[in-house]
Symmetry: C2
Subunit: 338 residues, 2 copies
């Protein structure tokens, strides 16, 4: 089968790789309906995360079950399924508490920028859709696998809800979908930090009530002005830099909630500064599996359209161009047809 | 009046200071029933926090209202009152949400190791007891002002409750009272990290079900063993060092709760490490005011006896010896009679 392999910074190739196959009796193999590139794939592409040799890329997936292991009972061949970027048994105490990305048997997915993919813990990981989806739903279902689920988790962690003012740091796919989530969760006011006109349009469409173009201390000062001096009730951090995490912390009021889902790179939180801010920090790899059944239903019922974050589509064979477009911010998120 | 003044590391003197008096119309002046020394007073005593000139020490207090400003209506002269180490208006949005230590008008208290003390925002800050307390209740009421309220907040932040396993890092007064709080909140299992025999006894008396003497990675390994490999549901961090905060984070399971109330000194949290732990961090200066009415009632009804953390009593004039005893760990907490 063909798959996207990264050899080093900026070096992405599409080539023949070994077919995905059942390894454990709890595995499934799916045929991807489409693949996509994640903002987090840019960390190694930019050389910030180091690779240990060539890496078969991709951790988002939706598609048809093609094979199942002997112990798989919850999905069957022919089902259309969506799963999280972290495979989980969904039965351990951590999964049962809703933190499936911390499953005691978790497997971080890789190799889904491909035609086929092996899914470990298929029973716990995969959620079948109500039927075979119309093609126009594929981008949204694929988004549910990570960026929608991650944005949703961040909004939940920020305690978005009625009466709340939620600020969102980061206008990539995750930040934009955190806006969509905050809107669905009933937030009264949703303030998007963004200085890109195209992303501002999508932010508004997803539910942002205000846009702040300033960053850092100036951005924080604007949020304070807009909230009677208090700061936001909750803030989503969807970038992962030292500046962005402190922007999020400072934009929140004391006792406020930070839902942080940007993967922190070169971030150090000074203990004394953090202590006196008195905010809640909740984050990490999002437990997407917790939200998947509801997210799939919302997509199925056409109540949300998270697939709009895909603003550039290419065939899998041109994945390298997709990485380049995202790196250069010419695309928010790239869909790869397979 | 006499007060405790710190001139520099290890240099504590009791001397005449200006009488506490009404400055703002929302102030009260109280006559302390007793004073005490806090673990956090040791940071400047040990030279880790720098002083800007001599400091009138103390932030814990309970006593009789002696004067009130013209705008004070909730307390009257002659009331016995307890307040938090952070004065707060108790009316702003942050106070109303239960985060009074982050009050938009907050004042960090100082100068209560003394005969009299000025309390800003008296209406918001002070909570009258049901009557004039019996003398044996004074230590417990004084503990409510900070160490009990702080331990309680940490246990709440760690989500202590039925069915939960809570670990407590730190066997000072706050850690010990977090154990008491976790017990009151219904935690099933309470694991105290402690290697001091006298503190272990008090930990057990307050409700610890298990004691772990190991620290750092070894301590974490013990907690994992005791919890089926998962880690604790919640962990209280009541020390404030790099080792102790990571011990707390690693001792918790994914999705677990860290209630951190140790004031972080030379602590840096690496963003990537924190991200992949996937725990919740809640902490900072404890909103003691949120809990004071309930804590006072529990003490009044003799349901809890947090005053037991005072294991050394001295007259105010011998405060220097009290600091020395706490610094050398000969005392958990020192009561100063005034």
């Amino acid at each position: 089968m063909r798959g996207v392999v990264m050899y080093g910074p900026g070096d992405v190739r599409v080539e023949e790789v070994e077919d995905a196959r059942i390894v454990d009796s709890t595995d499934a193999v799916i045929r991807l309906a489409a693949a996509c590139i994640c903002g987090s794939d840019l960390w190694p592409y930019r050389g910030i995360d180091k690779l240990n040799g060539p890496a078969h890329m991709g951790h988002e997936y939706a598609g048809l079950v093609e094979q199942i292991g002997d112990d798989v009972v919850n999905v069957k061949v022919g089902d259309f399924v969506v799963g999280s970027f972290v495979a989980s048994d969904n039965t351990c105490e951590i999964c049962q508490a809703g933190y499936q990305s911390g499953c005691i048997h978790r497997v971080f997915m890789t190799g889904t920028q491909s035609e086929l993919a092996r899914i470990p813990h298929a029973d716990g990981t995969l959620v079948p859709t109500p039927g075979i989806p119309d093609p126009e739903l594929i981008p949204s279902l694929l988004a549910a696998s990570d960026v929608l689920g991650t944005g949703w988790y961040a909004a939940v962690a920020a305690e978005a809800g009625p009466g709340k003012t939620i600020a969102v740091v980061g206008d990539g796919a995750v930040g934009l979908l955190a806006i969509l989530a905050a809107k669905q969760l009933g937030a009264e006011r949703i303030i998007a930090f963004s200085r890109h006109a195209d992303r501002q349009v999508l932010a508004r469409e997803f539910g942002a009530t205000d846009i702040v173009e300033e960053r850092g201390d100036e951005g924080v000062a604007r949020i304070k002005e807009m909230t009677g001096g208090y700061g936001a009730h909750g803030v989503v951090e969807a970038v992962g830099t030292q500046e962005s995490i402190w922007q999020a912390i400072h934009a929140a009021r004391a006792g406020g909630r930070i839902g942080y889902v940007g993967i922190g790179h070169e971030v150090d939180l000074n203990g004394l500064d953090l202590f006196f801010e008195g905010v809640h920090l909740e984050g990490g790899p999002a437990p997407v599996r917790r939200f998947l059944p509801d997210l799939i239903q919302l997509i199925w019922d056409r109540k949300i359209d998270p697939g709009k974050v895909f603003d550039f589509t290419l065939p899998l064979s041109q994945a390298a161009e997709g990485y380049k477009a995202m790196d250069e911010r010419r695309a928010i998120k790239v869909l790869l047809t397979v």
